[in-house]
Symmetry: C2
């Protein structure tokens, strides 16, 4: 069966059906097979697609008929819902630029997800094919996750745990359907609505979104290319009574900061002094370039670090799997929330994730990915340097997927973003990463999108848009 | 590569490594290949499994070595977390009996999930294999869902919409990673913490769990084999000012009630009179036996009915896909919550779900399922009648997966459940389905579990346990 043919037939027949009178009978499958030169299975698939769209209906033994597309056309008044819903308790930010999709012909420097060419596509397809034959396709896994996958996540931290500290056990791991669910649960279970959560500023917009959903009170701690300011962190803990700090110690999104061992130690000491949690978002574990990221979690066995790791970005968007590793009552609180929120995570996705990351070819893939990320990062840095000198990369990140670009203070960032988009270049305004007013004019440029060969053209368009503002 | 051999080698080597001194070098791959008569790929897979479990570590170019299993053994004190976490804002119920797993040799009448033999296993495996070759394995779908799957869900409601009413459009559909996520989002987005939500009593325990998580205030409305009492429903709306009612109008879990068209009309009128939402949990859409379930949602185009449908139970536990169809601002509120909670749902699971339900064999499967459910239901009803006459089925359900069994008022239900378990029969106490004190002594017996041939033995054990209480 050919999916493309079936889609083409569905489109053509659908256009015809949309203009035909309701009740008109479609040609027989045999006649359609002859007309389109396709097999009967392909034609039937096209008809099912049209039926699913409500355009035609099949009467068994009689034939297929055009349906009335919209049976009434009066506009509806849902105004009563306004009173029923009331004002939302928390305003959620809108869709981030990082999630928007654009036509293929733009130069895309905005996305939060690596391009398909950077994914271990063959490994993922093979893993799904294998898992389709196994028990994961029909069984229900335990709420905390597949035991073998829990072991793998625990083993990843265990392998880096220094002597003298107890590595986490597989039972400390809770599997989530993606890191966003992990963030929502961590904020709900460890902080709770109305209570303070310290965050770096700027920080990951998805964490700001989860914070909005869960109603925690954000307390920004200034952070830059070297990580958060430890004195400000201590002051924020002291003044707010917060018991949790959310951070990305390795290749922070968006700044790219990797904490020095000294800073990591100081932050951990501060967190311990305040009887608090560090919610470590280890999002870029697979995206080291010049350095190897070591999670802070391996330096703590007192239950202070709650570690979140996702496989979605490095394995595939379809393999929506993340895990939180936490010890003590925190782990219980997190599991109870995850169970109530989503019951359990598809065992199929868990089996596929485990299959991919335990193949020898996964290591090979990661080595190749590192080289590609290095080349892409360096290409974009060089292109900006040459074509958009007013856009300054304050620190070249040693890993991750993004450049954090400082613009002249007078830049009209929304206008710049629009001007770039008009020129076919999509960039993300830095404002989306700030929990409060932005500390300056920034763009986040992602170097893991499609077609890195166009980076120089993208930088040129950005440079020209910046120059136009300068002249205005 | 042979997965069973690899698992066997991992087990044997793991037992050896657990007793070996840390640092002991493992035999070479070549030696292990010879010892176990397995291929090198199989042996390497076993070694990776052991490494993932933290039992051995590989030093490239040197060899594989036994790791210290637990490097420190001191007990940890996580007491500081008690202060950091505080009291939980809402007490979540524990794991329901319906989610517990037991050895294969018990008679399982407790589960909430149909047995493997009732699933379209071949369709699911074929769909995963097909999807593994397609774009869904590598692409990221829109936050609201794959457009084709949105169309299918909308089309299912549209096909049953009477003339004169506007069917929902695909854009009204939001896809979720399972119905539990849908319930959590609906309660958060349409009701909110501290506000009242009317529920049938008894009702689905997963909804009670989601209510606990989201902090909505439960208001029970008495319900029985015919559905909720409409006068009590109207009174509850009036007295509490609630703007939402959660219910299962077709084959309610646990009572099996299917609302009459007259009751459905009265409930809809009451909901409209109070400017409220009916959150319709259409969980058993694929489980009609004597009747065809028609969702209430098709009788409303004013945005009052928010319709939740899951495919997890009828397609496969691995295909964790559900959808909410809602119109107007309610749909916006639901999408914003879903996006903040989980960002998007694996496109692979969405593609597989769509593939399964659009195959001609899906309809054939549902017809066979109907016959099997009828036979299983009737067998369990007859077995109870013969062997446990004190356990009364007040109404034989016309669909769904459960019998709601009334016990003599004096029954010690927890003791009965324990006695049955001791006799190898797992039953679920009715208490788990009540949002307040239970209105009587009940059991929920699921007739979709494994091995229906053992239903008479199960009923006999239940009858004997009841008789023992009678004599005591």
């Amino acid at each position: 069966m050919n999916n493309d043919s079936s889609a083409r037939i569905a489109t053509e027949l659908g256009e015809w059906a949309a203009t035909a009178a309701p009740g008109t009978r479609l040609p027989s499958t045999r006649a359609l097979v002859a007309r389109y030169g396709a097999g009967p299975v392909t034609v039937q698939k096209a008809l099912r697609t049209l039926a699913a769209r409500g355009l035609v209906e099949s009467r068994p033994g009689v034939g297929t008929f055009v349906r009335a597309a919209v049976r009434t056309a009066r506009p509806h008044d849902y105004g009563w819902q306004t009173a029923a819903l009331g004002s939302p308790p928390h305003r959620l930010p809108g869709t981030s630029t990082a999630l928007r999709t654009f036509p293929n012909d733009v130069i895309a420097l905005h996305s939060g997800y690596p391009d398909r060419e950077l994914l271990p596509e063959r490994l993922v397809r093979a893993a799904f094919t294998r898992a389709a034959r196994g028990d994961a396709a029909v069984n229900r896994p335990p709420a905390a996750g597949l035991p073998e996958l829990q072991s793998w996540f625990a083993g990843e931290l265990g392998a880096a745990t220094p002597a003298g500290l107890t590595p986490p056990s597989p039972a400390d791991v809770v599997v989530f359907p993606g890191s966003q669910s992990g963030l929502s649960t961590a904020f709900r279970a460890l902080v709770g609505a109305g209570r303070p959560l310290l965050v770096e500023s700027p920080t990951y917009w998805g964490a700001l979104l989860a914070a909005g959903l869960t109603g925690v009170r954000l307390v920004p701690v200034p952070s830059g290319p070297d990580g958060p300011d430890p004195a400000e962190l201590a002051r924020a803990f002291r003044l707010t009574g917060a018991r949790a700090f959310y951070a990305q110690p390795n290749y922070a999104n968006p700044t790219g900061a990797q904490w020095s061992p000294d800073l990591a130690g100081r932050v951990l000491d501060t967190v311990r002094d305040h009887g608090a949690f560090l919610i470590e978002d280890d999002w870029a574990r697979d995206f080291g370039i010049d350095t190897d990221p070591v999670p802070l979690a391996v330096r703590d066995d007192g239950g202070h670090v709650v570690h979140l790791r996702s496989l979605t970005k490095s394995v595939a968007p379809a393999v929506r799997i993340a895990a939180i590793t936490a010890r003590g009552p925190a782990r219980e609180r997190i599991l109870a929330d995850a169970r109530a929120e989503a019951m359990y995570v598809s065992g199929m996705l868990q089996a596929v994730a485990l299959d991919v990351v335990t193949q020898p070819a996964w290591r090979t893939h990661l080595r190749g990915l590192r080289r590609q990320l290095a080349a892409r990062r360096d290409l974009l840095v060089a292109a900006l340097h040459e074509h958009a000198p007013a856009a300054r990369v304050e620190a070249v990140p040693r890993g991750g997927l993004n450049l954090w670009v400082r613009l002249p203070d007078t830049t009209d960032v929304p206008r710049l973003v629009r001007d770039c988009e008009d020129a076919g270049v999509i960039v993300a305004p830095g404002t989306e990463w700030f929990p409060a007013e932005p500390a300056g004019a920034y763009l986040r440029l992602n170097y893991s999108g499609p077609n890195p060969g166009a980076f120089p053209d993208g930088a040129r368009a950005l440079g020209e848009a910046l120059a136009r503002q300068d002249r205005a």
